[in-house]
Structure formats: structure tokens, C-alpha cells
């Protein structure tokens, strides 16, 4: 079982997302995360699916994705050098006595405080999934009020390009 990041270019049509999500559930494939948004070409969306499975299963996943009529292109990013990023918004307790520490912690992780109230900070943090996990680990669990993560997006390094 290895982790794979699969990027999918898909026609921006109603139902394309449920078709892809349905494929994963119908065939029993894992989805760790799934992100989707239109590309610079509004007729197309790009989806990033993080999944895990044996080599045989991942081969089937890419073949089955390619078989979907609306799918234009599929690439397993983890086959070569790539970058992955995920965005997290995390709301933490930041009363008088925690405020300083929390600010410092956000700085260490290169997070940005994007909303402030009398007793809360909302911190924006970008990185790969492990970095976001590490930030959560570094905090006192009692201080976390809410988290929201986008799931992983990925792109190939250098000249490696996924487009039509």
C-alpha cells in the first residue's frame, strides 16, 4: 500500500465530480482527499485525488479514471518529482495569556493570522499534509476550536506539465 497523488483533468460538466467519486466507492478504492476547481480554461476542472493502494490497484484506478467519458487526462503525480500543498484554516483560543505563544507558534510554522477576536485567532497555514499535521500536534489540543483543510493539491516539478 503506497500513497499516490492522482491529478485529473475533467470536462467542467454537471455530474463529473459524482461520477469520479462514485467510481471510487463502487470499486472500493480509497480516497484520502479529493479537491476540485476550474482551471484557467473554464471549460475544464482539475481534480487532485490522494489515494493509497498496491501498484495493481493504482494501475486500475488510473485506467478506470481514463475510461470515464468526461475525463480528459490522468497523471499519477507521485510517479515523479512533484510538489504538494494543502491549506488549513485553524481557529484557536487566544485569550490574554495564550496570545503571545500562539502568535509565536504561527510564526514558526509560517502561518498567517487572518482573523482576530478578543479570545481567538484564525490562522492560515499552507504546506504538505505532514506540516499541517505537525502544527496540530504542536498545539495543546484544548486550544483548538475548529479546523478546516482543503485536501491536497499537487503539481509536477520543472517542465512536467499536465494540460491538453
Amino acid at each position: 500500500m503506497t500513497r499516490h497523488i492522482i491529478s485529473v483533468l475533467v470536462e467542467n460538466e454537471a455530474g463529473a465530480l459524482s461520477r469520479i467519486a462514485g467510481l471510487f466507492s463502487a470499486r472500493g478504492y480509497n480516497i484520502e482527499s479529493l479537491t476540485v476547481a476550474p482551471t484557467e480554461d473554464a471549460s475544464m476542472s482539475r481534480m487532485t485525488v490522494v489515494t493509497s493502494g498496491s501498484e495493481d490497484v493504482v494501475e486500475q484506478i488510473t485506467k478506470q479514471l481514463n475510461k470515464l467519458i468526461e475525463v480528459v487526462k490522468v497523471v499519477d503525480l507521485s510517479e515523479a518529482e512533484h510538489i504538494e500543498r494543502e491549506l488549513m484554516l485553524i481557529k484557536v483560543r487566544a485569550g490574554q495569556k495564550e496570545r503571545e505563544d500562539m502568535k509565536r507558534m504561527a510564526d514558526i510554522f509560517r502561518g498567517r493570522i487572518i482573523d482576530v477576536s478578543d479570545n481567538t485567532y484564525t490562522i492560515e497555514l499552507t504546506g504538505d499534509g505532514r506540516k499541517l499535521d505537525a502544527f496540530i500536534q504542536a498545539l495543546d489540543p484544548g486550544s483548538i476550536m475548529e479546523t478546516v483543510r482543503t485536501g491536497t493539491s499537487g503539481i509536477g516539478r520543472g517542465n512536467r506539465v499536465l494540460r491538453v
Binding site: 475533467v10 470536462e11 454537471a14 455530474g15 459524482s18 461520477r19 462514485g22 463502487a26 495493481d56 494501475e59 486500475q60 485506467k63 478506470q64 481514463n66 475510461k67 467519458i69 468526461e70 475525463v71 480528459v72 491538453v164
Partner: protein, 570 residues
């Protein structure tokens, strides 16, 4: 195709004009609220003929049977809600066997979608896992291009059913109509030609083979590649097996044919599959009902060449050495070009081995029985129809016996639900087969349980005067269920016995057909001869057969392909 001049039409008119432009001969359907405008347009013309079924499952199976027997696209038309859910079993049946079909379903008006309207169901959602693709058309301006795409997608690449869901208001809206001449989709471009380098590798393996085996499936039939397959097998002198879906692609009466492989395949086909050193798989998918346990299959070393249009069928259950993705007819054409001057190995030793396996005579049964043996009925059916009938079947023991005992020499003659295993398929499929081949002999081999699942279509057969011959192998049991219960569940026949069966002869008569009960072996042949002589009538033959007969050989579920239970073992 004639270029249709641009003119302003309603959505309903557009649907019918598109069907005409596609050359659709028959639409199998059932009217209802959401499709009334489409039915109104069908009424006003006579190019596209409508066949009124008695249940939407029948419409889907009939369109499917029509397609299988004609290599055209089957079309059905159903209303929203229960209309489309009733058709789902038929759509899934076509999907599992890769049959090109277009299903047009009505939908509630666009403004009512999502409001739990009367007869509303999310047709695109319900059918998504069992179609090649589906569309919801919300704008009349997209209707013609969507229907064009549906026909294109259904028939190209690995074929399959495509559903077009049309809200009622879209059928009343108007727009300029022009039927597109072609389809261009950047996301859908199925390959035809196979990779030349891979084809060369395949040729080398075939020429080095000491113990070769050719294993072909439904893909050869769908690709109309039977002539190429025959030439290839003859040229090489190799043994050949056809799966349940592939029967008829290679002539069953030829001596190089080893019968069907798999769970109820012949001893010689299964042994050869296991012990060959080079396996050429064409349009087959190493199904669990064919190779049994894949780990057991992998125990014997062999090189596998796999030709298929669908990359996801390759290395799915069995690892393949030489994959070739492409349209089978094109790939075989290219392969034949390389092989015509080549010389394969002498495989006399291998044939000697195969003939020893053949000598087991694995399909033998008790020919002196006083009770009618189902196998005997099928042998006689083959004789009486001189092997030239179109045979549809339902699902169960009778299906396996038909596959074993009716020797199909032509493709598209054997019509059965292989992948999904849908009881109730046989009779409605036979309607489509008969309409596609008027004047031809069509037999529906069924059992007393299967036939009752779509029995209402006897009424459709009457309306359209379809002279199908129903061969009912009546053992009062769901025979295959009973067989499994006998072998694997300690003879506990849980709910597999059918009490209170109808009088099938009277039932046939009630629908305006004729019927005959046959309960003596000596009457089997005369009854068949009499029935098939009645060219213009549907005849229901109710054969009372041995209740305890089993299908042999049998590979128990999860066992290896050579771990067969044979007749002689019991």
C-alpha cells in the same frame, strides 16, 4: 447520412428526427407522463417503429437482444420515475456484456427537478454505475448534439448503454434543428489500431509456443472479428476456446474447438487453459466464472498475450505479458499480416495431450433415462433447427446446457446474459432478436423460474406476431440454486422449490399462443419438429425434465480451473 436542413422544431420533434437520422428501425418502450410529447411525435411518423412492451425491463432486454443479434444500436424509450427504474436491470445487463444501447428516459420538468415531484427519480444518479455514460439535457439547444454523442459513445470503443434523460418541458421548447454529422470530443477518442511493436512481440511468442491456446470472449463478437479469428486459428493450427459470451466466434463443430472454458466449461478447455505455455486472450476478461481462483491459475507458468479495446480489462485479474490495446478486428488484421508467411512449431504432442483430455467425454449424461434429460432436449433442439437458430436463454442450468450442447457455428446466434446473469432476459431478448431477423428461427431456452420473471412479454409477442419458440426446461426447481445447495449446503433446498407452478400450456393459450406439455423422452423430437414447423406462431413447449440433473463439469466457487467436479465423480 443526409444533412438535415436547419429548421425550428420542438424537443419532442428533435428526438424523433434524431432517431430517424440515426437510422433507428425499432424503439422498444412504454409511454408515460414525461414522454407524452415524444410519443405524440412518434405517432405522427412511420419511419421509426415503436414496439410496446408490457414492462420497461422487457424494453431494455428487447433493445439489448436486438443489438446483439444485429450489430445495430438498440434503442428504448421509457418515462420518468418507475419507467426508468424498471429499465435499470436491463441497462445493467447490457452494461455488463458491453452491448451498445441508447436509452431515452423522460424526466419531470426542469423547474420541478429536486422537488420530489410525481414520478421523479434522479435517473442519471440511479443509472450512473451501470451505463457507459449518461446525460441530463436541460436545454433544448443541446438535445440534438447530446443524442448524437449518445449514439457515438454507445457504439465506439468498448460499447455500452448510454442514457439520455430529457425533462418534459425540454420536449416542448423549440430551437433550430440540425443533426450534427460528426462528433468531436477531446475527452473521448477510443483507439483502433494496436501498437505495432506489441503485435510483433505477440507474433514471436505465438511462433515459439509449444503448447499454445487461443481463448476468446465477447469482444470478438462485438468487434465482428470472427472471420479474422477463424483465419488466425486455422493458420496456426492452435486449439481454441470461446467463453460463454464468445460462443459462435469460432465454429463449435470444428475439431480445433475445445468447447467453452470455465465453471461449467469442458474438461479439455479448462485443462488446456491451465497447462498451455502461451495463452492468446482476445476480447475476454479472465472473469471469475472462467479462470476460477486467479492464484491457482497463476501457479502454472505461461506467457499471456491479451488483446482488448479496454485497457482496464488488461492485467485486472491476471498479469499479462504482452498487452495490446485496440479494436480486435484491426489488431487481428495486423497480426495476420505478420503470420501469413511464418511457421509455427509442430504441436502434435500438445494435441495428443488435448485429445486424451477430450476422451474423458465430460459432457456425457444418462441417455437411457426414462425421465427427460435437459441435455437431450438441447441436443434435439440443435438437430431439429440444424444448428441455425438464434438461441436466447435465461439464467441457470438451462443456460449452461444450452451453451454446452447447442453447437454455434456463427457469431450473434447465442444471446444470453453472461455478466449480470439476469433471469427474465430470455423472452424479451428473443423479441428483439426476432425483430432484427424476421423470418429466422428464434428459440428461447428457459426454465420455469426464469420465464416467470418477464412472462408478461408473451402479450407483446402476440401483438407483434413474433413466432418465438419457447423451450421451457421445467424441473420445478431453481435448478442452479438447487445444484449449489446439493453440493455445498448439505442438500438443504432452501426456497429453491417452486410450488404452485402455473399450467404453462393454458397460460400460453391465455395469451393467444399455443402450448404443449412434453413429459416423455420419445415425444421430445416430435414436439420440437411440430413446433418449429409452425413458422408464424409462438409455441410454448413445457418439457418436464429430471429434477435432480446437474450441470457437469463444475468448478466450485473459489476453486482452481482444473479442480472440476465431473459426472463420473458422483
Amino acid at each position: 447520412m443526409d444533412r438535415v436542413k436547419a429548421s425550428t422544431l420542438t424537443g419532442a420533434e428533435i428526438v424523433v428526427r434524431c432517431l430517424q437520422a440515426e437510422g433507428v428501425e425499432y424503439v422498444f418502450g412504454y409511454p408515460g407522463g414525461a414522454v407524452l410529447f415524444i410519443y405524440d411525435e412518434l405517432f405522427k411518423q412511420d419511419k421509426v417503429k415503436h414496439v410496446l412492451v408490457r414492462h420497461e425491463q422487457g424494453a431494455a432486454h428487447a433493445a439489448d437482444g436486438y443489438s446483439r443479434a444485429s450489430h445495430k444500436i438498440g434503442v428504448c424509450l421509457v418515462t420518468s420515475g418507475p419507467g426508468v427504474t424498471n429499465a435499470v436491470t436491463g441497462i445493467a445487463t447490457a452494461y455488463m456484456d458491453s452491448i451498445p444501447m441508447v436509452i431515452i428516459s423522460g424526466q419531470v420538468p426542469t423547474h420541478a427537478i429536486g422537488l420530489d415531484a410525481f414520478q421523479e427519480v434522479d435517473a442519471v444518479g440511479v443509472t450512473r454505475p451501470c451505463v457507459k455514460h449518461n446525460f441530463l439535457v436541460k436545454n433544448v439547444a443541446d438535445l440534438a448534439s447530446t443524442i448524437k454523442k449518445a449514439f457515438h459513445i454507445a457504439a465506439t470503443g468498448r460499447p455500452g448503454p448510454v442514457l439520455v434523460d430529457i425533462p418534459k418541458d425540454v420536449t416542448t421548447h423549440s430551437c433550430e434543428f440540425q443533426y450534427p454529422e460528426s462528433v468531436a470530443m477531446r475527452s473521448y477518442n477510443p483507439v483502433r489500431k494496436g501498437h505495432a511493436g506489441q503485435i510483433k512481440k505477440a507474433m514471436q511468442l505465438l511462433l515459439e509456443a509449444q503448447r499454445p491456446m487461443v481463448y476468446t470472449g465477447g469482444g470478438v463478437v462485438l468487434s465482428n472479428a470472427a472471420p479474422q479469428l477463424r483465419e488466425l486459428v486455422k493458420l496456426l493450427g492452435f486449439p481454441c476456446t470461446n467463453t460463454l459470451m464468445g460462443l459462435g466466434a469460432y465454429p463449435a463443430t470444428d475439431k480445433q474447438f475445445l468447447g467453452m472454458p470455465g465453471m461449467h466449461g469442458t474438461y479439455e478447455a479448462n485443462m488446456s487453459m491451465q497447462h498451455c505455455d502461451v495463452l492468446l486472450a482476445i476480447g475476454a476478461r479472465f472473469d471469475d466464472r472462467v479462470i476460477g481462483n486467479p492464484a491457482h491459475f497463476a501457479q502454472n507458468p505461461r506467457k499471456i498475450i491479451h488483446i482488448d479495446i479496454d485497457p482496464s480489462s488488461i492485467s485486472k485479474r491476471v498479469k499479462v505479458d504482452v498487452p495490446i490495446v485496440g479494436n480486435i478486428a484491426d489488431v487481428l488484421d495486423d497480426l495476420l499480416k505478420l503470420l501469413r508467411d511464418a511457421k509455427p512449431q509442430d504441436i502434435g504432442q500438445w494435441w495428443k495431450q488435448i485429445d486424451e483430455w477430450r476422451a474423458k467425454d465430460c459432457l456425457r449424461y444418462d441417455r437411457n433415462s426414462k425421465i427427460i434429460k435437459p441435455q437431450f432436449v438441447l441436443e434435439k433442439l440443435y438437430e431439429v433447427t440444424q444448428g441455425e437458430a438464434f438461441v436466447t436463454s435465461d439464467v441457470g442450468q438451462h443456460q449452461m446446457w444450452a451453451a454446452q450442447f447447442y453447437k454455434f457455428d456463427q457469431p450473434r446466434r447465442w444471446i444470453n446474459s453472461g455478466g449480470l446473469g439476469t433471469m427474465g432476459f430470455g423472452l424479451p431478448a428473443a423479441m428483439g432478436v426476432q425483430l432484427a431477423n424476421p423470418g429466422s428461427t428464434v428459440a428461447c431456452v428457459t426454465g420455469e423460474s426464469s420465464i416467470q420473471m418477464c412472462l408478461q412479454e408473451l402479450s407483446t409477442c402476440k401483438q407483434y406476431r413474433l413466432p418465438i419458440k419457447i423451450i421451457n426446461l421445467n424441473n420445478k426447481y431453481m435448478g442452479m440454486v438447487r445444484q449449489w445447495q446439493q453440493f455445498f449446503h448439505g442438500n438443504r433446498y432452501s426456497e429453491s422449490y417452486m410450488d404452485a407452478l402455473p399450467d404453462f400450456v393454458k397460460l400460453a393459450e391465455g395469451y393467444g399462443h399455443s402450448g404443449r406439455l412434453v413429459d416423455k423422452p420419445a415425444d421430445v423430437e416430435p414436439a420440437l419438429r411440430e413446433a418449429f414447423a409452425r413458422k408464424s406462431e409462438l409455441v410454448f413447449l413445457d418439457f418436464i425434465t429430471d429434477q435432480k440433473e446437474n450441470v457437469y463439469p463444475m468448478i466450485p466457487g473459489g476453486k482452481g480451473i482444473t479442480e472440476m467436479i465431473l459426472y463420473e465423480d458422483l
